[in-house]
């Protein structure tokens, strides 16, 4: 922020003459050697003073003649000088001009908001201009001055970006610092300068910067650290003790060879896809429900989740992955896989309840534009919904071209036959559980509706009219049919709504087992209800939506008409010779495919850079560009721009293959560095944020890694892949706590029936927008309503409660204790050795063994005397709701049918005191920093 010191040290301020000021501040405005003062003042006004007035003053003092604040109008020179009650400007005498003192915040403060306050540089423009007599050239002169200026595409003040054009010339021709708009420039073909033949190119770039900064790189981490790092990084799971010892042995023979083989093995593991799909699901905001007031289930979303896992495992070229997600249905209309891929366009939270249709539609399209931009192009688009971008060279026109691109895209559950590669196991049993709940809800609903219809029949009889059922009488006049809730008490009315909602919920869940996908189709806008989205029965092939720039994002404020198109500031045209080089087809079909091709184009400066940067970020904890979702002016600048461009070029040239990129990154030296700096003091002083990567940055396990790791070391993890969502055990209070949805309470969280079913990897866990698993949430699993570019790992206190005290962690610690006892009968020391080996991937030290053994003994005596009480699972829960009309509470029963036949994990009351004591040790290991951090 500039220094606002007009008022307090006026006497000290330098007095500028017009010429010195111009020389000092506005060199680039001026051209020619013979400066004519009048011309210069005109230029100063046109290029500096007027734009400031437009931005900061006219809002209140001009633009709206009906609403001129304080009657001061600044739109013309005369009015500006004259002022409202007193003269505002004395030409030639800035210090006598109240306008000048006001903008300096001396007598009065203008503009009044701190955020709008002028910088000293800006107030000086006014000063100089008033000194020069406050000239106000006519519009023709202004335009001539501006046009001359626009011809110079690049000068000291920055560059003018070519694009489709803003809503005003000031914006269209504004200048940017070149380094700020790096991402819009073509990817540079960087020359690689490697020191030695065998040097990894990445190291060449990284080490050069380190050398320039005079920082020594940390030595290579030890083998144990490296296998743990790589295994977590690629699979999200810890290595087994056997894998560790095998790797250390082979590293001793040939460490390069062993490392290379390890990376290959991990990249080829099925668990690789599970780990890396999670990153992408964070970006696109995966959830199994729709959010908003009803949080309806998206019963087939799991198929998109599995598609992403498969794509990573199959090393699908990223450009193809992009195309499928944006336009799979258009690319291969008969391929179920491609239709499932468009689930990406269905990931945002969305609902229609109580929202006018047009507005609901706009919310959907805005979400798409913003998140497609953010996910694939690292270009958040929402700012341009209301205006040309404040900082980026992104016109609002382009937002609406992209909006028009999606304007024929309609969300729906589409038909998509099951694929051989999909996991359909257990469908029958799972379906049966849902059918039971549906039957119960229906019977309860019938109880109430029967009572209502009995009363209706009576009413018809009394009124001497023939009985009509609910549907048949729907449109009858009020006096020819019984009141809506005839025969029902307010409480029964409430129950009816609850059960109707239940029927919806369970009918919908049955769709999980249908060959359907949460996808999209191309068609006309029609009435949509979020609870059931189906492909329109008849698609109007000739339907073409009209799209406009909407000023301020308001549906009422239609501006210029826009056609479907791509983002122009990228410099990548669709057809350079066309009248509108950015336009794509405006047919009903094919818009997304054309757009997808443009996104996935080798020459798109954003797409490949974006994914390369993301991959880098997930390996190192921070991207070359720290703001992975935002490559715009206000995003971070790349720390290693040349490296980013070199990697991007190489990535594209070699077929957009992510596994190849992993391999290159992981075989670099920088990836294998120790977390201990070679010279900690120097590094802390020169590069405190470790941007130059002299040493490895440790990271905490993510929520999913934490849960998966505890399951793995306890031996409980079921490695089955894919399929309908699993239900882990979550905090019982939360599972049963009533969760409000419109008119009702959402069903309780019931865990999957058997340990094998529920103790699977967390990526398969049911993700409900309205109710997070509290343990995952507290460990910073992101809120799925917003794209998550990078995980937070803030250590907040409630994490300690969850990790120490929760039933889930108690259960894991007991399972690990049982495993240790089973695999090493009667050998306490072996238990501890194995526990440490499993948790930390290293041997226990003598002092650890003796300390923990003593602790174990102490806990044995504690638990011998402190017996846990058995906790039973409820098979139903009584719900209480306040009836909406009367404000009176009423109760109803919700069935928890899973618990009727439930197979629990081992619990404190099912194991011995000795096992509980050992579980205490296990729990501590699972809480320890060594377990929770990857080095």
């Amino acid at each position: 922020m500039a220094n606002h010191n007009c008022s307090n040290n006026k006497g000290l301020r330098m007095k500028f003459s017009l010429t010195t000021l111009i020389c000092a501040l506005t060199v680039s405005i001026l051209s020619g050697d013979h400066i004519h003062a009048q011309d210069d003042a005109d230029r100063l006004f046109t290029l500096r003073v007027l734009p400031i007035m437009k931005e900061k003053c006219f809002g209140c003092h001009g633009s709206d003649p009906e609403d001129v604040r304080g009657d001061y109008n600044m739109l013309t020179r005369d009015a500006l000088i004259e002022g409202s009650t007193d003269v505002a400007v004395v030409p030639g005498e800035p210090d006598e001009s109240p306008l000048y003192s006001a903008i300096c915040w001396e007598d009065s403060e203008m503009p009044p908001k701190e955020n709008d306050r002028l910088s000293e540089e800006e107030t000086d423009y006014f000063k100089t201009w008033i000194e020069a007599g406050a000239p106000w050239p006519d519009e023709e002169t202004q335009l001539a001055i501006q046009k001359e200026q626009w011809k110079i595409r690049e000068n000291d003040e920055g560059v003018i970006v070519d694009h489709s054009g803003g809503t005003g010339d000031d914006w269209t021709y504004r200048r940017y610092q070149k380094e700020d708009i790096w991402a819009f420039q073509p990817v540079k073909d960087v020359e690689l300068k490697i020191d030695a033949q065998e040097q990894n190119p990445i190291d060449a770039f990284i080490d050069k910067k380190l050398k320039d900064a005079g920082i020594a790189a940390a030595p290579q981490a030890d083998h144990r650290t490296l296998i743990r790092r790589a295994t977590y990084d690629l699979t999200g799971l810890p290595p087994t003790p056997e894998e560790v010892s095998k790797f250390i042995r082979s590293s001793n023979d040939d460490s390069e060879e062993a490392w290379s083989k390890l990376v290959d093995r991990l990249i080829d593991s099925d668990h690789y896809g599970e780990r890396w799909a999670q990153h992408w699901l964070d970006v696109v905001r995966y959830a199994d429900t729709s959010g908003f007031s009803n949080d309806y289930e998206r019963s087939n979303a799991w198929r998109y989740r599995d598609y992403v896992i498969r794509s990573f495992n199959n090393d699908k070229p990223f450009n193809e992955f992009v195309m499928e997600q944006l336009a799979g249905d258009e690319l291969r209309p008969d391929d179920a896989e491609a239709k499932i891929a468009t689930g990406m366009l269905r990931m945002g939270p969305w609902g229609t309840q109580m929202i006018p249709q047009e507005e609901a539609r706009q919310i959907y399209l805005d979400d798409l534009v913003h998140n497609v931009g953010q996910s694939f192009l690292s270009m958040p688009m929402r700012c341009c919904k209301c205006h040309d971008h404040k900082f980026d060279p992104m016109p609002t026109r382009d937002y609406y071209s992209m909006y028009a691109t999606f304007a024929t895209t309609q969300p729906a559950e589409v038909e998509a036959e099951f694929l051989d590669v999909e996991n359909l196991s257990g469908f029958d049993e799972k379906r049966k559980l849902v059918e039971e709940l549906l039957a119960y809800a229906k019977s309860k609903k019938d109880e109430v509706t029967n009572k209502q219809e009995d009363a209706a029949k009576k009413w018809y009889k009394e009124h001497d009219l023939p009985y009509k059922n609910v549907n048949a009488r729907k449109d009858d006049p009020e006096d020819e049919k019984p009141p809506r809730h005839v025969g029902l008490t307010p409480e029964e009315q409430g129950k009816k709504k609850v059960r109707e909602q239940d029927v919806w919920i369970w009918e919908r869940r049955l769709e999980r087992y249908q060959p359907m996908a949460q996808g999209v189709y191309n068609g006309q806008d029609d009435w949509k209800n979020g609870r059931k989205l189906r492909v329109a029965k008849k698609i109007k092939k000739n339907w073409r939506p009209e799209n406009f720039i909407l000023a301020g994002g308001s549906l009422e404020a239609k501006g210029d008409a826009v056609k479907p198109g791509v983002l122009s500031p990228t410099g990548l045209a669709v057809d350079p010779d066309a009248e509108n080089p950015w336009a794509i087809t405006d047919e009903l079909e094919g818009r997304r495919l054309a757009f997808a091709k443009w996104v996935a184009d080798d020459k798109n400066p954003l797409t490949a850079r974006s994914i390369v940067n993301r991959v880098w970020q997930y390996h190192f904890g921070k991207g070359i560009v720290k703001t992975a979702n935002n490559f715009g002016v206000k995003g971070s600048k790349p720390t290693h721009p040349e490296l980013l461009d070199w990697l991007t070029t190489d990535f594209v040239k070699n077929g957009w293959k992510i596994k190849r990129l992993h391999k290159m990154i992981m075989t670099s030296e920088v990836y294998r560095r120790s977390s201990k700096p070679a010279d900690a003091k120097k590094q802390a002083a020169v590069d405190p944020d470790n941007k130059l990567l002299a040493s490895w940055q440790p990271r905490r396990l993510t929520a999913e890694e934490l849960r998966d790791s505890t399951l793995q070391i306890s031996g409980e993890l079921n490695r089955e892949m894919g399929g309908v969502p699993i239900m882990p055990e979550i905090n019982m209070e939360v599972a049963l706590q009533p969760r409000m949805i419109q008119f009702s309470i959402a069903p309780a969280h019931q865990p999957s029936r058997t340990p094998a079913e529920r103790n699977r990897r967390t990526i398969y866990a049911y993700r409900v927008r309205g109710q997070a698993d509290p343990m995952l949430e507290i460990m910073n699993q992101p809120n799925p309503n917003e794209s998550c570019e990078v995980r937070d790992a803030a250590a907040v206190t409630p994490q300690a409660f969850t990790l120490l005290n929760s039933d889930t962690m108690t259960d894991r610690s007991i399972a690990l204790a049982l495993r240790l006892q089973k695999e090493n009968p009667e050998k306490p020391e072996a238990w501890l050795k194995q526990a440490i080996q499993l948790s930390f991937n290293r041997a226990a030290t003598d002092s650890e063994k003796s300390t923990l053994l003593a602790y174990l003994e102490e806990m044995k005596s504690y638990h011998a005397e402190n017996k846990p009480e058995e906790v039973e699972y409820p098979t139903e829960v009584v719900r209480s709701l306040v009836e909406e009309f009367t404000g009176k509470p009423f109760e109803f029963i919700e069935k928890l049918n899973v618990y009727e036949d439930y197979v629990p994990d081992s619990k404190p009351w099912t194991v011995s005191a000795d096992t509980r004591a050992l579980a205490d040790v296990c729990l501590l290991l699972m809480n320890s920093n060594e377990f929770l951090y990857v080095y």
Partner: protein, 468 residues
């Protein structure tokens, strides 16, 4: 392990927050404690502007309390009772008719603030003359979840930080042994759920912590019943040993401290939270004043008293949700029972704060997510006496915290259909609340998704009429 030994190795970590509790227990020097507290993200911060209020208690009436039946009476509407209405705004469909208020209204206190006669305790001049009733807000959303999110997070779409998150981000909290932002709800969460008190894009330190009314006040606050407090202390000592050995091996890793500290903090919270929640020590007459002995007021009364205790302990922002205000039908029954459940506790809270000299520093806010319509549709073919959702008019009130006591600000038209005087959107209310706390909404920003975000989204205006 003895206290002395534990002290040794905790000190070995350097002066860190985790050792604060212990060191303060052990009478360590205050300076060291202070410097450590200052490093916490929740450390108290001095606001930019001169604050009028330090803490907030927000009483959220979920469902949309009817302004014309609470603090904005409309005699004209009563004279139009059951006349046909031609209004078409909002969710209005089909034939509609006007609904007069089932309640009488009267002026109360020295200030003569008008309110419905259902408010018996708030009508006490000692309380009524503290209120600043604001009738000019327009809520913009007609649907409960969106409107709730708008009022609580400044955004209708969900995912943005709650008011309390912004406030604790701006001001920190005075008590490091309790969460800075506490939320209390009924057993059922309000619509839109925890999104109403999420930290959104702000760091997780600023999320609202729910103090639960049943079961454990904070999830998993205590170990399973077969593990005693001594057992937990022992476990924590053992964990601290493991962790400090590990930290010795990784001096380069700064994050370790924060996690080690969080366990000690957790242990202290296990002590302090039950202390705050445990109201046994409160005098009987006060409990009675809050309505503990009446079924309809007991729960909300307990929460109001808890709010006072929390603020007393230095918690920055307390929010209580009370549901059931969505009276589409049977408004007389619905609203009278809702009012009866909160009237006495709120009055007791204000008096209690006043008596303790806390009202000056504590801003009490009473609001819902929107107001209600002056008319209703024929629901189920009968003239049901209730009201629809109204985004154009509502009322809320403030007390204490530098607001203008004993005033009415703004107004709605003569039937309460729309705000017409001193009209402001929700963001202006937010800007004003922040201002009272010494926070400038334009300056309290956080860079996210490409721009500096703020509570008001894009800036707002102060409502100076509210400020004393």
């Amino acid at each position: 392990m003895s206290n002395v030994k534990r002290r040794e190795f905790l000190y070995g970590l350097g002066a860190s927050l985790g050792s604060v509790a212990l060191s303060s227990m052990l009478h360590a020097d205050e300076k060291a404690v202070k410097s450590v507290v200052e490093q916490s993200p929740l450390a108290p911060k001095t606001p930019l502007l001169k604050p009028k209020a330090k803490n907030v208690i927000m009483l959220f009436m979920e469902g949309g309390p009817s302004h014309v039946d609470t603090f904005d009476p409309k005699p004209k509407l009563n004279s139009m009772h059951l006349e046909e209405s031609k209004r078409t705004k909002g969710l209005a469909t089909g034939k509609r008719f006007y609904v007069g208020s089932p309640f009488k209204s009267r002026k109360v206190g020295q200030s003569g603030i008008e309110m419905s006669d259902q408010w018996q305790y708030l009508a006490d001049p000692e309380v009524a003359d503290e209120l600043c009733v604001y009738r000019g807000c327009k809520a913009e959303s007609l649907n409960h979840p969106e409107a709730l999110l708008h009022m609580n997070t400044g955004s209708r779409l969900g995912g943005d930080p709650g008011l309390g998150s912004w406030v604790t981000y701006g001001l920190g909290s005075e008590n490091q042994n309790l969460p800075g932002y506490v939320v209390m709800t009924e057993l059922a969460l309000p619509q839109a759920g925890p999104a109403n008190w999420t930290n959104g894009f702000l760091p997780a330190y600023y999320q609202g912590t729910r103090l639960r009314s049943k079961g454990s006040p904070i999830l998993d606050l205590n170990p399973p019943t077969f593990k005693s407090r001594a057992h937990q202390r022992k476990a924590l000592d053992m964990l601290a040993k493991l962790n400090s050995d590990h930290a010795d091996r990784h001096p380069e890793h700064a994050d370790l401290k924060a996690r080690m500290e969080s366990y000690e903090l957790a242990y202290r919270m296990q002590m302090s939270v039950p202390g705050v929640v445990d109201i046994k020590s409160e005098p009987e007459h006060l409990k009675e004043a809050y309505g503990f002995n009446r079924k309809e007021t007991a729960e909300f009364g307990r929460q109001c008293m808890m709010a006072r205790r929390l603020v007393e302990e230095g918690v920055r922002f307390v929010q209580i949700f009370s549901g059931g205000w969505d009276s589409h039908d049977y408004l007389e029954k619905g609203h009278s029972s809702r009012i009866a459940s909160v009237d006495q506790p709120i009055a007791a809270l204000i008096k209690d704060l006043k008596q303790r000299g806390m009202l000056e520093d504590t801003l009490v806010v009473w609001t819902g997510e929107f107001g209600r319509t002056p008319d209703n549709n024929y629901r189920g073919g009968v003239t049901s006496l209730g009201r629809g959702h109204n985004a154009d008019a509502m009322n809320m009130w403030f007390a204490g915290g530098g607001t203008k006591a004993g005033t009415v600000v703004g107004g709605t038209d003569d039937i309460g259909a729309e705000a017409v005087d001193c009209v402001h959107p929700i963001r202006d209310v937010h800007v004003t609340l922040m201002h009272l706390l010494g926070l400038d909404d334009n300056k309290l920003t956080y860079f996210h998704a490409g721009r500096y975000k703020q509570l008001s989204q894009f800036g707002g205006e102060l409502i100076p009429e509210i400020i004393a």
